[in-house]
Symmetry: C2
Subunit: 310 residues, 2 copies
C-alpha cells in the first residue's frame, strides 16, 4: 500500500510536492514531472478551468511579469505575445486563466517553480522549486497598445497541515499522493485589519455601507464588519492604508467588491459589475469619512473589461 501509485503524477493535486523542499533545484521539465512538482511537460501552467491551477513554471514569456521573490505578478496566458513579451491581442479570462481565479476564491495553492538565468524565454540555469503560492488578487488593465491584459498577484504561503489527532476523510479510491495531501489546509480568505480599518468600521457602527444589513454576532446586537481597501494594499496597486481608501462592508459585500462584482461610481452609486445595473448608493457619513475618488477610479480600472463608461 505504500508504493506510490503510477498515476499519481498525472492527476491534479494541490499542496506541497512530497519530499521536495523549497529551494530544491531541477534540471528541466522531465525532472519536475518525475518529482510530481509540475504535471505538464513543456507547458508553464498546469491545471484546468474547473479545478484550478496546481503548478506554474515561470520562464519569462511576458514583459509585464514581475518576480520579487515572495510576491509575483503573473500575466495570464494568451494574447499572442510578441518576441519582446508584449501581448498583441486581448486576453480572456477562460481556461487556465479562469482556473487561477478559482485558486483565488478557494485559496488553492500553486507549486511555483522559477526559471533561473532566463534569456530569450529559456531558463539556462535550470529551475528552482520556490514553494507554495496563493493567488491574492486578479485584475484587468489596458496595455499601452490598448489590449486587455489580465494579471494575478501570487504571494508565497506554506499552508497548514490539519493538527494530528483530527480525523481526515479518506476515500478508498484515493491515490497515495492524494492521501498524503488530504491533511493540507489552505486559507481561502484572509481579512486584514489595520488601525485605519478599525477607525472606519467604528464610524459606521459595523453596518455595511452597501447593503446596510447588520451581521449580528452577539446578544448585545453588535454587528460584525470588515474594512475593505478600495485601492488594494500591496503590489502592484500600492493602495495606502488610510481611512479615505477604506469602506466598512459586510463579508458578503466585501467578497463581491473585491471581485469586481460591485463597482462604485464617482458620485458614490453602487453598480453591478456585470450587468451595470444600479444597485443603490453608498451610505457615507460625510462629516467623519471622506472617500477618495481616485481610489474608486483605481478600483474600477482594475476591472477594465466591465467598468467602461462608468
Amino acid at each position: 500500500m505504500s508504493t506510490p501509485s503510477r498515476r499519481t503524477s498525472k492527476k491534479i493535486y494541490f499542496g506541497p510536492p512530497p519530499g521536495v523542499t523549497p529551494g530544491q533545484r531541477f534540471k528541466g521539465h522531465t525532472e519536475l514531472h518525475a518529482a510530481s512538482v509540475h504535471r505538464f511537460r513543456g507547458q508553464g501552467i498546469s491545471g484546468t478551468e474547473h479545478e484550478g491551477v496546481d503548478s506554474i513554471v515561470a520562464s519569462g514569456g511576458y514583459a509585464a511579469d514581475r518576480d520579487e521573490g515572495n510576491v509575483v505578478i503573473y500575466t495570464a496566458m494568451g494574447g499572442s505575445p510578441d518576441d519582446d513579451g508584449h501581448i498583441t491581442e486581448d486576453q480572456e479570462l477562460v481556461g487556465r486563466n479562469a482556473g487561477l481565479v478559482l485558486n483565488e476564491r478557494e485559496g488553492l495553492p500553486i507549486r511555483f517553480v522559477r526559471g533561473l538565468n532566463i534569456r530569450s524565454g529559456k531558463a539556462r540555469g535550470g529551475y528552482e522549486y520556490a514553494g507554495l503560492y496563493l493567488v491574492e488578487e486578479h485584475w484587468s488593465c489596458r496595455t499601452e497598445r490598448g489590449h486587455l491584459m489580465w494579471q494575478f498577484r501570487l504571494v508565497r504561503d506554506e499552508g497548514e497541515v490539519v493538527p494530528a489527532g483530527v480525523a481526515v476523510e479518506i476515500d478508498d479510491d484515493m491515490t497515495d499522493l492524494e492521501r498524503a495531501t488530504a491533511r493540507f489546509v489552505t486559507a481561502q480568505r484572509r481579512v486584514r485589519n489595520t488601525r485605519a480599518s478599525r477607525k472606519v468600521k467604528s464610524i459606521y457602527g459595523n453596518i455595511c455601507q452597501i447593503c446596510r444589513i447588520p451581521v449580528v454576532v452577539d446578544g448585545d446586537g453588535a454587528p460584525y464588519s470588515e474594512g475593505a481597501h478600495i485601492q488594494a494594499l500591496g503590489e502592484p496597486h500600492r493602495g495606502p492604508d488610510v481611512t479615505s481608501n477604506i469602506l466598512c462592508l459586510c463579508p458578503n459585500c466585501h467578497v463581491r467588491f473585491d471581485n469586481g462584482a460591485l463597482l462604485i461610481t464617482d458620485d458614490l452609486k453602487v453598480v453591478d459589475g456585470f450587468t451595470r445595473e444600479l444597485i443603490g448608493s453608498l451610505n457615507v457619513r460625510y462629516n467623519q469619512h471622506r472617500i477618495g475618488v481616485d481610489f474608486l477610479r483605481q478600483h474600477r480600472s482594475r476591472w477594465a473589461d466591465r467598468s467602461q463608461g462608468l
Copy 2:
C-alpha cells in the same frame, strides 16, 4: 521626536512590544510594565470591554487552562475560583472577557506572557514573553459542578507589517509607540479550506444552506461560499475534517454560525442563538450529504448559555 513618550506604556496598543523579542525573560510585573509588554501591574489581563485585550500574563489561576506552546486554552476571568482553580460561580461574558471576544472579531493580537515554574499560582521562575497570540474561538460550557465557564483558544501568530512604500495614516496626536505600531496588520478573519470543505461546497453549487442567497462573484454567475466546520477543528473541540461535519455557507451566515448567533437543532431547523426564534430550515441534499447530529450537538453545547432546551 524619537524619544519615547512617557505615556506610551499606559495607553492601550496592539502589536509587538518595540525592541522585545519572543523568548525574552522578565523578572516580574515591574519589568514587564517598563518594557511596554504588559500595562497592568499585578493583574493578569490588560484591556477593556470596548477596546479589546492587549496583553495577558498567564500564571495558572484556573484549573481548566491549558498551555501547549503555540495553542493556549484560556479561561475567562471571574467565577470565584477556589484554591485548586475550580470556579465556584457562573462566569459572565462582560468586561475584559467581552474584550477577548472583540479580539476574536477584529483579529486584535495579544502580547502573551507565560509564567515559568508556576507553583500555587506564583511564577517562581519569572516570565517569558511568548509572542503575539490571536483569539481563534470562544465558547461556554458547564463544569462538573454545573457552573457556566467561558473559554478562549489563543493561537500564536506574528502578524504582518504593511509593506514598505504603502502610505499609513499618521495622526499628529499619536504617541511614538502608536506610530511604531501603526503599520501592524492583523488577520481579522481567516477562512480555512480543506479537501472535504471543497466537496461540500460543490454539492450545493456554493449556495448557502442557511439563507440560500448566492454571493455572485463572476460574470458566469458563479457564487462564492465557505465551508463551515460544525464541530470546530483544533483544540479543544477536535472536530474531524469530514463532509458530515461541514456546512456550505455564505460568509455572513458563516460568521453568525461561528459566533453562536445561529444554532441548528437536531431536526435541522435554524434558530436565532439569542432570541431562539425559528429562522428557517437548513437546506440539505440528503442523497449526497449526511450531517452528523453529534456535531450539531457539540456546536450547540459550545453555546451552553443560549442553547438550553433546543
